[in-house]
């Protein structure tokens, strides 16, 4: 199916448009939803669409990991944390803070400046055709040249796990 997408048929741009809209529109709804559970579910849709964009970019392993780690693990953590804290969908609670105007202005300014800079550059590079064995080469790089980053990531995960347990542990009552 990926080969069909990359053979230059009209499916590739169509899939790109679908995934791009599927990433950006739910992201807007993440910010706009009053109900925090709705925000979490829109975030899930956005992250899944980004996995689709990874597929279009020939990063198959990253697409699978995006689904597993983000749509699986991180989303589960978010939903747990939402259910353990109050204020889900209460219509009387303000969802935006005092800085609504300035926050929107800052984000719009950032987007405008970035898009302007993007337009000034010439991005007419053509992607290499016939990529072969991307995941195999990624594995070679991970345990070869970048073994140190790989090991450091495992240490960071261990430290984060222990740290999270220590932070949420309740103090034993006297």
């Amino acid at each position: 199916m990926i080969e069909a997408l990359h053979s230059g048929s009209f499916w590739y741009p169509l899939a790109f448009i679908i995934f791009a809209l599927g990433a950006v529109v739910p992201a807007v709804l993440v910010v706009a939803s009053r109900n925090i559970i709705h925000s979490a579910l829109w975030l899930l849709a956005s992250l899944a669409s980004i996995a689709g964009l990874y597929l279009l970019l020939n990063a198959e392993l990253l697409a699978a990991l995006q689904i597993l780690v983000y749509c699986g693990g991180i989303m589960l953590l978010f939903l747990f944390a939402i259910m353990l804290t109050p204020g889900v969908g209460d219509p009387d609670v303000r969802v935006h803070n005092q800085g609504l105007f300035w926050g929107l202005l800052a984000a719009l300014a950032l987007a405008a400046v970035s898009l302007h800079l993007l337009r000034e550059e010439d991005w007419s590079v053509v992607p290499a055709a016939n990529l072969r064995d991307v995941t195999g080469r990624l594995a070679d790089a991970l345990v070869g040249q970048y073994a140190l980053a790989f090991e450091a990531a495992s240490v960071i995960l261990l430290v984060a796990m222990i740290g999270a347990i220590v932070i949420v542990r309740t103090e034993p009552r006297e």
Binding site: I50, F80, W123, A160
Partner: protein, 108 residues
């Protein structure tokens, strides 16, 4: 095999990435609920990841740095989400709220 003009240019991916980053920044700046702020951070990390992978793909795709970067960022995002949500639960126990503008003990 010659690449066909039907393939979207690199710029298209970069525009999607810019929009995602700006939306994530908006969530960080304007939402009150700390969990929604964290969702904005995740969106920004994903925008950066999309940039890495797009530049990897359009930059020849011979060296694997772009994908290695993206993998490490996904790992760090998982660790960050676990720690941040633990901190949010801890803050909720202490202050009985998760709204970031009400947790202002250090405000002068």
């Amino acid at each position: 095999m010659t690449p066909t003009p039907a393939i979207p240019p690199l710029e298209a991916y970069l525009i999607v990435s810019v929009l995602l980053f700006a939306i994530g920044l908006t969530a960080v700046l304007v939402r009150r609920n700390a969990i929604a702020v964290l969702m904005g951070v995740e969106l920004m990390l994903n925008a950066a990841n999309l940039n890495f992978v797009a530049f990897w793909r359009y930059g020849g795709a011979q060296r694997m740095e772009g994908q290695v970067f993206a993998l490490v960022i996904i790992t760090l995002a998982a660790a960050e989400a676990a720690l941040a949500l633990a901190i949010i639960l801890s803050v909720y126990r202490r202050f009985r709220t998760v709204n970031v503008d009400q947790v202002d003990l250090m405000k002068g």
